[in-house]
């Protein structure tokens, strides 16, 4: 996970709201990796994740005047990314197993086969989660958001976040059982 300094983010957001390009640039360099990985975990395609990342930042910049500085700006950015990901998967039905080519696991890496298998299974397990469930899990596990923030990003209730998270953990636990013992 990429460590992000929230105070810095807030400072940059103030600049962005005032159309400060330098602030936007710094913000882009700071947040682009997280957003890219968030989207990647939805689309499992590098090129698509890249495009959606660009779209996210463009939408963010074009709507900068509407930025609410009390809301975590990070959450706002994720909100845009999340909506794009949802729309994308509506436009194009999800392919269940992602392209082997997109699967960047280094097949020649034979140092630890069990490890490689685990990664493989893990990615499949997360991919198998229903969309909402996966979003909750990824936001909590990889992007470090609290349940209340996740509720904000996804525009669902706190209770739904809790339920989805329990569901995600239960499914993952079941699917990855052999690796967890």
């Amino acid at each position: 996970m990429i460590k992000i300094d929230n105070a810095r983010v807030l400072f940059l957001l103030r600049g962005i709201k005032q159309k400060d390009e330098a602030a936007f640039k710094e913000f882009f360099f700071l947040m682009q990796p997280s957003i890219f990985y968030y989207l990647f975990k939805f689309v499992y395609n590098k090129a698509t994740a890249e495009d959606l990342t660009q779209e996210t930042f463009i939408k963010f910049w074009l709507n900068a005047d509407r930025l609410d500085l009390t809301l975590s700006g990070k959450a706002y950015l994720y909100k845009i990314a999340h909506n794009l990901a949802i729309n994308h998967s509506k436009r194009k039905p999800q392919t269940s197993a992602y392209d082997a080519e997109e699967h960047h696991l280094n097949k020649s890496d034979k140092t630890n086969m069990d490890y490689v298998f685990l990664l493989d299974d893990y990615q499949k397990a997360v991919n198998s989660l229903p969309e909402r469930c996966r979003a909750v899990f990824v936001l909590c596990r990889f992007d470090g958001f609290e349940y209340s923030e996740i509720a904000e990003i996804m525009e669902i209730s706190l209770q739904t976040v809790k339920n989805q998270m329990s569901k995600a953990l239960a499914v993952l636990r079941k699917r990855l059982q052999s690796h967890l013992n």
Partner: protein, 363 residues
């Protein structure tokens, strides 16, 4: 004192794993954990799951400089196509700060957006790459300025000082990555017939394909002509090295018509006194290590190693014992820790390296 019974659920346990729990919650957790083996198992599984999923390998992050340049292009495009929808003016094309050398009229802004659109298409469809390097304070600068300024456009220079690297997207969509302590002189816009820039130092070029407008890089006493390719040019200490990673380029000594053609993966060295070497296959990984933020040395004398380091970290190096200068280093180093590099070098060569502020003393 407990005010309210805390429910032990996944949210609570995750808080514990993330070490975000307070003292009271930790105590509560301890008690819960000791209640039963089932609880221990449940928590153990959760911790394992939490840890293991993070080990998942992900693709590398897309190159941020390129993504940023593309983003700017897209914003510029939005602005020119649907002006009523774009709330803000497009970001400037030039990524880093630039210094205007000569003031002449820049083209109309309207044209600008159109060029960007075309440029964006070229970058995506036809980009090809190349690396060039040179060092000396350019005697040729004046001459080159004349050549470039005959294009009747403003000339800009982009300077990457010691310790900084910069990327620029030129008006034709070509990308140039400037290594530390280097300078690129370029016009605001290229003319109809050719694209000419001058380099002092080292840069990697990814040139947009345009057969009707050859791209020329002037570097010390060489001119490299490209139609669309990727290459690296490096000029340090009177040597110019041109390494081609894609496509074909032709390189000339100035005032000469006899060119040398480079093919993919080949490098040629130009020495002021001797002229061009024969092109030969080069180790691309080694010569382009700087693009990945690394130093790569291969039987490199410590003196040259220190020169690279002083450029990158902006430090001054003093050799107490001249004999140390010629000791050789081979290896690839990450650039994130100077101390680490020094500790490896001093162990390998059995020399003492002291870092004191921006002063480095080798003895």
């Amino acid at each position: 004192m407990k005010l309210m019974p805390q429910i032990i659920d996944s949210q609570f346990l995750i808080k514990i794993i993330k070490s975000e729990a307070n003292q009271e919650e930790k105590q509560l957790f301890e008690n819960w954990l000791n209640e039963s083996d089932e609880n221990k198992e449940e928590f153990g599984t959760l911790v394992l799951l939490w840890k293991k999923v993070a080990d998942s390998k992900l693709p590398p992050i897309p190159d941020q400089d390129i993504q940023w340049a593309k983003l700017q292009n897209q914003l510029a495009k939005l602005n020119s196509v649907e002006p009523e929808e774009a709330k803000y003016p497009p970001l400037k094309v030039v990524v880093p700060e630039t210094e205007l050398i000569s003031k002449k009229k820049i083209g109309e802004k309207k044209d600008y957006g159109w060029i960007l659109k075309v440029a964006a298409v070229f970058v995506i469809l036809f980009s090809i790459p190349l690396l060039i390097y040179i060092n000396k304070n350019s005697k040729s600068a004046h001459r080159v300025k004349q050549i470039i300024s005959s294009q009747t456009e403003s000339l800009y220079s982009l300077v990457a000082g010691k310790g900084e690297r910069k990327t620029i997207l030129l008006s034709d969509g070509s990308l140039v990555y400037l290594n530390v302590d280097s300078k690129l002189i370029y016009p605001a816009r290229f003319t109809d017939s050719s694209r000419v820039v001058e380099l002092i130092g080292e840069a990697y070029f990814s040139i947009s394909h345009d057969a009707s407008k050859p791209f020329k890089v002037i570097c010390s006493n060489t001119i490299t002509v490209v139609k669309g390719t990727e290459f690296n040019i490096k000029n340090r200490n009177d040597l110019v090295r041109i390494l081609l990673t894609k496509g074909i380029v032709e390189t000339f000594e100035k005032d000469s018509n006899k060119g040398i053609t480079l093919k993919k993966g080949e490098m040629v060295t130009f020495d002021e006194k001797i002229g061009f070497s024969k092109p030969a296959k080069a180790n691309i990984k080694h010569f382009l290590a700087w693009r990945k933020g690394k130093f790569s040395f291969s039987h490199t004398p410590l003196e040259d190693v220190m020169e690279e380091i002083s450029r990158f970290y902006n430090v001054q190096v003093v050799f107490r014992n001249p004999a140390e200068r010629s000791k050789n280093i081979t290896g690839v180093f990450d650039t994130d820790s100077l101390e680490h590099i020094f500790s490896i070098i001093s162990l390998t060569l059995d020399v003492k390296i002291d870092l004191n502020g921006s002063k480095v003393i080798v003895q």
